[in-house]
Assembly symmetry: C2
Homo-oligomer: 430 residues x 2
């Protein structure tokens, strides 16, 4: 077993679920150990939430410094009964490695560390790693961390946490992320659960929530929250060119998702533009009343929805939160647990992006495509305020990120390591 | 402890939840024992589901026979954490008896049996009891039972399971029940849970369910399912007179329910007419995606709703089920577990109803009100096809039927017994 694979094996066994508060200290201990083993000065920076592991390695004579961002926390593993092997036991099957968090983003940290180990004395840059523990719950403590560590964080560029290849093996180089607002909205109706026979005359929390939600997004996917699109910036010329060059195999994706067609009949350039440049509101969970076996004739006293809002430049999460609050108020629905961060992006023709793209070509043996803004989110804005950011990694469309049976291709561990090493060489020459 | 209270104590400790299949055989054993103790010929009639306990007591010289309908099954007790005392441990507090199922409808059977015991040799009628075990899940086996036992079930009238008093202690006499259709609708979207970042372009099961539901019922409570009201019969003159005489303390009910106003601004005669004569669709439960602590950025692969439809004469549950199926089909939503029964009623001026009303006046010391159709449901149509039916019992507005901390007033056990005894005397004279 390679060093990278062996490190991953230990890392993946830790159930580091920030939403549930498990595996945090074990992750920190493991990371401190591995950074120290690789010759880094490693330390734990406490925050108002989970700690951030910081590690620095100075290279004599190096002119450039690269900052790396990863997170040790992962998504909850449920629904558990859909896993073919236990989520916290890494298992190899048919050339892939399965475990919760392997694609998002434990394997990416593993190949980065593996590349550092491969390079040994030939490491061409100074390195700073930051591995946080709250990315999957919206990174509530990261702004405080960055403010406190602002001086230490200075670098020439940042390598972000994620990335991968499409169905045909073409690697991506990611130049930005959408922003996100996580929230929960709760409708409280009657003082207690009532017999549903009175439902013909008594307001229902569940029906009220349904009507409020139906007014938020049209069946074709258009968000109907007043003012939602106000600050959306249209993509520029270089963005549209990148979008045009971006491969997207609609048939393969439809097959993988198990859908007959995309939302509102989206296809072609319009579909790609939606994925990259359009915001939306997603329902993550609905909860009300009786969910057990059989039936129960109850009028539930409350109903709630967990949702996320995906934001594009120049949308502001605080502004959207207030629009949502104002929208829900007349329904008697309360918005809670609303937190998130704005989108962030680096220009597709930035030298750091070019370095990542050239390194991708060398490591994967083919031209990558540039993703101006990736559909997923992350707190990149905090790092982008200090330096340009770029992102690449080991995932692929079969990775089932945030879903049961998450995995990466074992072959991506080798190529991924080569990609990182080639990138470091180019960063040194910027 | 009185005989009635002591029987109830044993009866209430059985967790006879038909939705979860618990406590069925224990209930049957207890009932067989108590009927035998009271001099009935008791037997168990097996069905395709839970058995029905049948018991018969012949009175020498009696010209009239009364059939009694009760059910030994109760609603599930959740949410458990809202019970002030455990649901399966009967507890007396402040003049009330608390336990799951005490109001719906174990105390009603208890006072009926208590009255039989009180009357002893003075019992003026022949009695037949039927106690079924699937009322709370829509009585799926009762039609088969009634068809098979049709000859044995012949009687001059039927005493149905339920009833009670309003906030001011005025007893009700119930002449009919609404029908019901229990159903579950499930929207299956993507092949598996996806990362919600693709939600801007991928159809969402949860959003689809929300839109489908929003089109079923307007915010003011009007059902918008095409053809829903087609067969609704307007109340006649005697019904409207009964409705007019029916007390309904809106302020007290609003307080008890914890609501600022009724659905769609209903009040006065219109509110009473809605409760008694209008159908509706109630959401009993909503389920989709992540329901744990914190947030999870997932696009859930499915979303489902449990609901009940309350039916009034002459609506037909099978017809409504087909309308719902046709409505949901274009959304890709599947209707499952749809079962129920039609409404049923006896005229408010039927002699059996008059006998129950006169007995109420004698037992409770005040004029009862007649409820042409009660807001709750029951499989009365099967018995109504054979004979007139009437219903009264021991509940009150604080009984919290189907909710945590279900209870009856201890004083209702005595008056309830007297009501039954007085009724039997009047039935003998019909």
């Amino acid at each position: 077993m390679s060093w990278t694979r062996s490190f991953l094996d230990r890392y993946l066994r830790i159930p580091s679920v920030s939403a549930q508060g498990t595996g945090i200290r074990d992750s920190v201990t493991l990371l401190l150990g591995v950074f120290t083993e690789l010759g880094f000065d490693a330390r734990v920076v406490e925050t108002t939430g989970n700690p951030v592991v910081c590690a620095e390695k100075k290279t004599p004579g190096a002119r450039k410094t690269l900052l790396v961002y990863n997170h040790y926390d992962v998504q909850p593993p449920d629904p558990l009964d859909e896993w073919r092997s236990p989520p916290w036991e890494p298992v190899e099957r048919d050339g892939r490695l399965y475990a919760r968090g392997v694609a998002d983003n434990k394997a990416n940290l593993a190949v980065r560390l593996g590349a550092v180990r491969d390079l040994g004395d030939r490491l061409p840059v100074n390195l700073k790693f930051t591995v946080e523990g709250e990315e999957e719950v919206g990174s509530p403590s990261l702004a405080g961390f960055v403010a406190a560590q602002r001086d230490w964080l200075q670098a020439d560029g940042c390598l972000w946490e994620t990335g991968g290849r499409d169905e045909h093996g073409t690697p991506d180089v990611i130049c930005g992320v959408k922003g996100i607002l996580h929230a929960e909205a709760t409708c409280r109706g009657t003082a207690r659960d009532l017999h549903s026979s009175v439902g013909v005359a008594v307001p229902s929390a569940a029906w009220t929530l349904v009507h409020a939600l139906a007014g938020l997004r049209a069946p074709d996917g258009t968000v109907t929250l007043p003012g939602f699109y106000e600050r959306v910036r249209r993509p520029g010329g270089a963005d549209l060119a990148a979008l045009d060059a971006m491969p997207y195999d609609e048939e393969k994706r439809r097959e993988a998702y198990g859908i007959a067609g995309f939302l509102g009949g989206l296809c072609g350039p319009d579909l790609k533009e939606a994925l990259v440049f359009r915001p939306t509101i997603n329902i993550n969970g609905l909860t009300s009343g009786y969910q057990g076996k059989g039936s129960k004739t109850v009028l539930p006293k409350s109903a709630s929805v967990k949702f996320d809002v995906r934001l594009v430049p120049d949308m502001d999460p605080a502004e959207i939160r207030e629009k949502l609050r104002a929208y829900f108020r007349p329904f008697g629905i309360e918005l809670s647990d609303a937190h998130g961060y704005p989108p962030a992006r680096t220009a597709v023709d930035d030298p750091l992006v070019r370095a990542a793209a050239e390194a991708a070509r060398e490591a994967w043996g083919r031209d990558p495509f540039l993703l101006p803004l990736m559909p997923a989110s992350g707190p990149m804005y905090l790092y982008r305020a200090l330096m340009p950011c770029v992102s690449f990694g080991t995932g692929d469309p079969a990775s089932a990120i945030h879903a049961p049976n998450e995995s990466v291709a074992l072959s991506a561990l080798d190529a991924g390591r080569a990609h990182v090493a080639a990138f470091l060489t180019r960063v040194a020459a910027l």
